[in-house]
């Protein structure tokens, strides 16, 4: 089964079509993932040092006057982090799907063109050299990520953009930045280095209402634009020549979706640190759950949301010690992906 069989109908999921069984599986998977993301959000709102019943959470959310203190707990303390986990996870999953689809390489993720290492460099410089505030860290990370991505794109541009050259240049620049980060950590005081390292693992601890409004707003609008490119991206997976033959303008399309994916990753890296692995794992996990040949953006976004929201729950309420959510994401998501890989083989 190849992507060709899906044709245009893949995006009109609910109407069914020729390959009904595959679409049904994708639709059901997406529905389950969405339900899981909602459940994780609800749990995140109810659980904590001040446990609430579902009724209390609902009252707080709907603005019921009887909610009282629960209102502050839910709306101001828990809601920003819970929403951020879902939205940022979705952004990373979508960005990963875009890169793996464009490069047709399972190892590709936005990290490869240096956004994460660039964002980390920006933040580490602010943390270690300037001793800046959380807001300055965020700004440093955002600038670092965007500047790195732009540098790589310019270095890789020569009579047009070739996917493979972009990847090689990305690897080269990322390696340099990673070295720089290691060196900065070596020169820093131990306490500062540990703080920088914790930020580098990816954490939602600093997320407040303002960060969610700005970051989440940008993420949502970029995702909406991205869905418009779903069909031409599927054509691109057939190869540039085939895509052109079916009427896709490959160069502008590639630039547009790369810019969107970079934007998604940069926003998340700035707000929550370079959360590793979600972008790489989410499309692969989704591909195995939906049993589709290629990677699809929307299911991958949902998987990313569930991954990050679930990891956040575990990090906050299951583990006896405080660990950044990025660490938990890698271990849980990784274990699940390994299990999926083995399971997939057994089925064959």
């Amino acid at each position: 089964m190849t992507s060709v069989d899906f044709g245009r109908r893949t995006w009109v999921l609910r109407r069914g079509g020729l390959a009904l069984r595959w679409q049904a599986r994708t639709v059901i998977t997406c529905a389950l993932l969405a339900a899981a993301a909602l459940a994780a959000t609800a749990a995140a709102l109810a659980l904590g040092d001040f446990p609430l019943t579902p009724a209390q959470v609902w009252a707080a959310l709907t603005g019921d006057s009887r909610a009282g203190f629960a209102r502050i707990v839910v709306l101001e303390w828990r809601l920003p982090r819970a929403v951020a986990a879902v939205l940022f996870g979705a952004a990373l999953g979508a960005a990963g799907a875009v890169f793996q689809s464009l490069t047709r390489n399972a190892l590709a993720s936005p990290d490869i063109i240096g956004i994460s290492s660039g964002a980390y460099t920006g933040a580490v410089i602010v943390i270690i050299l300037v001793h800046g505030s959380y807001l300055q860290q965020t700004a440093g990370a955002f600038v670092g990520g965007i500047v790195t991505a732009a540098t790589i794109y310019l270095l890789a541009w020569r009579n047009g953009m070739q996917g493979f050259r972009l990847i090689i240049v990305g690897i080269a620049v990322s390696a340099m930045l990673t070295s720089l980060n290691t060196w900065l950590m070596l020169t820093a005081d131990l306490e500062v280095a540990i703080a920088a390292s914790a930020w580098g693992a990816g954490s939602l601890a600093g997320i407040g209402p303002r960060e969610v409004l700005v970051g989440g707003g940008v993420v949502l609008s970029l995702m909406i634009v991205l869905t418009a490119f779903g069909h031409p991206m599927r054509q691109m997976e057939l190869g540039d020549d085939a895509a052109r033959a079916t009427g896709t303008r490959t160069e502008p399309l590639r630039l547009a979706v790369i810019v969107i994916a970079v934007g998604l990753t940069a926003v998340v890296s700035a707000a929550a640190g370079p959360i590793a692995f979600v972008a790489l794992a989410a499309p692969q996990i989704t591909r195995r759950m939906c049993r589709t040949p290629g990677v699809a953006v929307l299911p991958a976004a949902l998987t990313g949301a569930v991954l990050l929201a679930g990891a956040e729950l575990v990090a906050l309420h299951v583990l006896p010690v405080a660990l950044p959510v990025g660490v938990v994401t890698v271990v849980l998501g990784g274990a699940y992906l390994l299990w999926l890989i083995v399971h997939e083989v057994r089925r064959r």
Binding site: N105, I168, A172, M185, L186, V331, A335
Partner: protein, 344 residues
Amino acid sequence: MTGGTVTDGTVVPLRRRRVIGLLAALALLVLLLLASIAVGSRDIPFAGVLDALLHDTGEGDAYVVWSLRVPRTAVLLATGIALGVAGMLIQALTRNPLADPGILGVNAGAALFVALGIAVFHLSSPGQYVWFSFAGALLATVVVYAVGSAGRGSIDPIQLTLAGVTLGSILFGVVSAMTLLDRHTFEQMRNWNAGSVASRGWDVLLPVLPFLVAGVILAIAVAGPLNAIALGDDLATSLGVHIGRTQVIVVVAVTLLAGGATAIAGPIGFVGLMAPHVVRWIVGPDQRWILGGTLLLAPALLTAADVVGRTVMRPGELPVGIVMAFVGAPILVLLVRRRRVSAL
């Protein structure tokens, strides 16, 4: 096939390019090895270095040269060869140009065991890390191989790659949790993580050397069959190549080489990824020529990085793992902009 490659509109006979390229790499390597012996925090004029090399008096300059710089240069040569050849093998096996030796989980496994050694057994020197690091690398590779080849006789390259990256990420996650929770481990690990050959001498190199030699011999043995595997599993089988056996040999060789190099110097990235790429652009896709070129170019790169690291901050020095990318990356970017790149 015309036996030539078009570069900038001119046809250069492939054979001549290969020979010239290899000779140039050899000359570069010899020069850099000499430089590595000549340069250090103690200022010794080049004539003095030569004199010390020829007459080992055991004191003064001769002591510095023979007990510090020569062993260190030998470590650079061995580690560079090991990382480069491991990179060449893993790229050929997975048919993925983004693959580096770390993909089999070698670095992550080594990191986990070294972190455990520090946290539980209170290790503190490179000499003590060696066997922990090696054992961790071996164990991680065995798991990755088991997952990557589960369900059938031979390895599925994509399955292996994903399994390696995933297990590597999990192990690094665990290491990062361990270091964030324990300051002492964090401090030790941030030094190990940088990848350095400082104060690595014969005591660290010699125990690991037999494994590295075995790895290189295995690599030479499979270079021919790997050419056939590049054509795809079906064609390779019909050409008489035993795919399963070749894959197992490659995995064993990569484990020995990358595991050994990491045991000696800690994780040094980029050289295993970059050297085979550059060599491939010069000599073409024949794995036997790529192996030959990598044997020369990878240690040259690593030595260059270490010499730079020793020079820029005298009398202090930068770890070679940190300098490596700064020396290699600009070259890689220049090359990738100049040439039509080979996508394997």
